[in-house]
Symmetry: C2
Subunit: 416 residues, 2 copies
DNA sequence: CAGGATTCGTTCAATAACTGAACATACGCT
DNA sequence: AGCGTATGTTCAGTTATTGAACGAATCCTG
């Protein structure tokens, strides 16, 4: 936001701002007439009319025809988001590859999931498969007449968005992989913006945009921390409806929070990290379940399902392990909340599946450890997208650029 | 920033933005001619001229007369910040009360410090003294012809900026004190905006604006975490030149980060909190120095000075205590950095005074525990304002509102 | 020392975009 | 059928930036 400050505001800046304002209004509150939009935004009916004209001409809004709303007065013609441009999300994970195509309205146009163990084969081959899957999604989108707004790739690990590098993805066995360059080279998507982000971060955005969470007063949930349990433990920080990525995109690394100086040894070289209590492998080990090949969240028959089944059946070892994980997680989340002062925690990934057994121990720790708990009560909710969050978030993130800057999008597509 | 999105941009919005742009340019890079400002901001010379006219008329800029810069071409007339409006900061602390008056250029007009033990007397009396000190500062500022832009009050504790309440200030023994209302009632400053914030937060802003820190490449330091050691341990989070306060202003509570489940008991009811290793009282106790009356940072002859003297003299108990505090602090800071991904830590308050003995252990822990350390090296620097930070930050914060929104300031002062 | 080169700041017509009011349109109600 | 009401468009008016032209002030050069 400070970046905006250093750029001059010319006349067209007004237009840009107000176009986005109108489009956002429709996106948030659904179809509405010009008059209603004017009232809601504070713009004049006249202005809204001209803005709507350019948005309709640009394929971002469409008229629904005379509204059937009964009432006195001339009925307005409702305006809704046009399907218009689409965004594509690609998720590369340990044991599957997923793509997702989403249009402006947020509806999913296409989903694909390729299951395969990617922890075993090298980055080269994974990237080839990923590029093929992406290519298929893009071709399909274009065949369907959609204009491609962008692509966002989700990877579990330490991701440097600015350079497009995957710095460290322990579960994939990657280190300093130039993912963006490789993907671009293998798909040849010229002119299409391709971005990269952490899987937990994108799951956070998915939860923000696609899950329809609401606070107690009905307003949308716009600030929260999503903790995502996989092999590691990651967190997405969403503040005022925006993802907080940190200076280089490395925010939310909560997995190696030290809990006990003499706890179990961690692969990071220290002891007693959160991951050693609440990570997937630790959880399985402590629950007494056999350690299988590395697998992520919630495949049927997978290890997490067995964990869930054990908990449901009342297996005392499983219940104890999950409770301990919940307590450890609660300590970690309390630390994050003390630092960030957000009031909502979303349990994601693995934790969404184990939520029934986690909510209580987590909540207990929060009540005990959040310094401002007396004045700022915290809420624990469960992810509604589960393992889908990251791809959904990625695809929506891609198409959302149009919503954020319709003016830029319009000029770009007119040029092309 | 999302808040801005929901408001229509009218014609005057351009003016507001560009006025701020021009004023910021002068504030950041010092006196400059109209032509230079135009080049730097990207605005036209014509536009800059009219903007400068209104800023000069409003008393925010002044002409320095023909510039003596040698060179071909007609010399420009340099424009500099006018002293113009002033901001007043008031700090209420455990053993002193401080006020500070700062003008637009950032220079301190007046400082006052009243030493007294405020931990012993109730809020009522403290507020009366504080109001008197504030009243004196305001009267003095007005007598000097300055127009008062605002007042900011700094308090060590959990502060709810939105309501003006001090929720919890353990060192003062306060709980749910309606500070803003009380101060307003006792000073009768009608029409002057009075705000409230946490002492550590304001020290962070002081460091941001008044200390002239620079990164390795010479650019100003705009993202950092300031850890401030007093009786408790607090942190200010500054991101992209803006203070991050959290949803309700409770961010940065790092003092009760759990380090060891079986560590020394803490007044919060749990064990092994950071405060029990790195807080002032714990530090004194562990160093084997007598526990005196509660006193804050760095009064000559005070306990912190004795600590410093002990370390300088090489007292092994003191050195061991300080090193342990540094290690504990390092763990806490590493946690914050893993979550936030900032690259600089500022040691403030007590820690600024003990910095020579802290930098090494803190740095060691950061190298070991920051997950992204290999790609995102962290830097530890020392506060340059020390105990002055909070008042300076508060006063500057007050006057900075004018810099952020000159247009609003101009209309407000014309009305008055 | 006169003329050219160069940079600074102002003036003025042109342009972009929002506003407000007036007006035509379309519907429900009596 | 006619009135009241809400919608959407048209048009003149206002605000603020732009671009180009111009006078002003200084340095450099022959």
């Amino acid at each position: 936001m400070s970046r905006t400050r250093s750029v001059p505001a010319r006349q067209p800046s007004l237009r840009e701002h107000n176009l986005a304002l109108v489009l956002h209004e429709v996106a948030r509150r659904g179809p509405a007439s010009r008059a209603r939009i004017a009232a809601a935004t504070g713009l004049t009916k006249a202005t809204v009319s001209t803005l709507v004209d350019t948005l309709v001409a640009g394929g971002l809004l469409r008229e629904l025809g005379p509204a059937g709303t009964p009432g006195v007065g001339r009925p307005g013609t409702a305006l809704a988001l046009a399907a218009g441009p689409v965004g594509v999300g690609l998720e590369i994970n340990v044991d599957y590859l997923a793509t997702c195509t989403v249009d402006l309205t947020g509806s999913v146009r296409r989903r694909e999931l390729v299951a395969e163990d990617f922890g075993r084969i090298g980055p080269e081959q994974v990237l080839t498969r990923a590029a093929a899957a992406l290519r298929a999604a893009v071709d399909d989108a274009r065949a369907g007449g959609g204009c491609l707004a962008g692509v966002v790739v989700a990877v579990p690990g330490l991701v440097e968005a600015a350079t497009g590098l995957v710095r460290l993805a322990p579960n994939l066995g990657w280190r300093d992989v130039p993912l963006l360059a490789e993907i671009s080279a293998r798909t040849g998507l010229d002119g299409v913006p391709v971005r990269l982000d952490n899987e937990a971060n994108l799951a956070g955005l998915g939860e923000l945009w696609c899950a329809g969470h609401a606070r107690a007063d009905g307003s949308p949930l716009e600030s929260f921390v999503l903790v995502s349990g996989e092999i590691g433990v990651g967190a997405a920080i969403v503040l005022d409806g925006e993802l907080f990525t940190g200076m280089r995109g490395f925010s939310g690394e909560i997995g190696h929070l030290p809990l006990a100086p003499d706890g179990p040894p961690c692969r990071c070289g220290r002891r007693g990290c959160l991951e050693q209590y609440a990570g997937q492998e630790a959880l399985l080990r402590r629950a007494g379940l056999r350690q299988p090949a590395r697998t992520t969240t919630g495949r049927p028959g997978g290890p997490v399902e067995r964990l869930r089944a054990g908990a449901t059946a009342g297996d005392p070892r499983v219940l104890a392990a999950v409770r301990e994980a919940g307590e450890a997680l609660g300590v970690g989340i309390a630390t994050a909340i003390n630092l960030l002062d957000v009031d909502t925690v979303v349990l994601g990934g693995l934790y969404a599946l184990l939520a029934p057994w986690l909510v209580e121990p987590v909540g207990e720790q929060l009540d005990r450890r959040v310094v401002a708990a007396a004045w700022a009560p915290t809420r624990v909710v469960v992810s509604r997208l589960g393992a889908d969050g990251a791809v959904r978030g990625a695809a929506t993130h891609a198409v959302r650029t149009v919503l954020e800057d319709p003016s830029g999008w319009l000029t770009r597509t007119v040029r092309a």
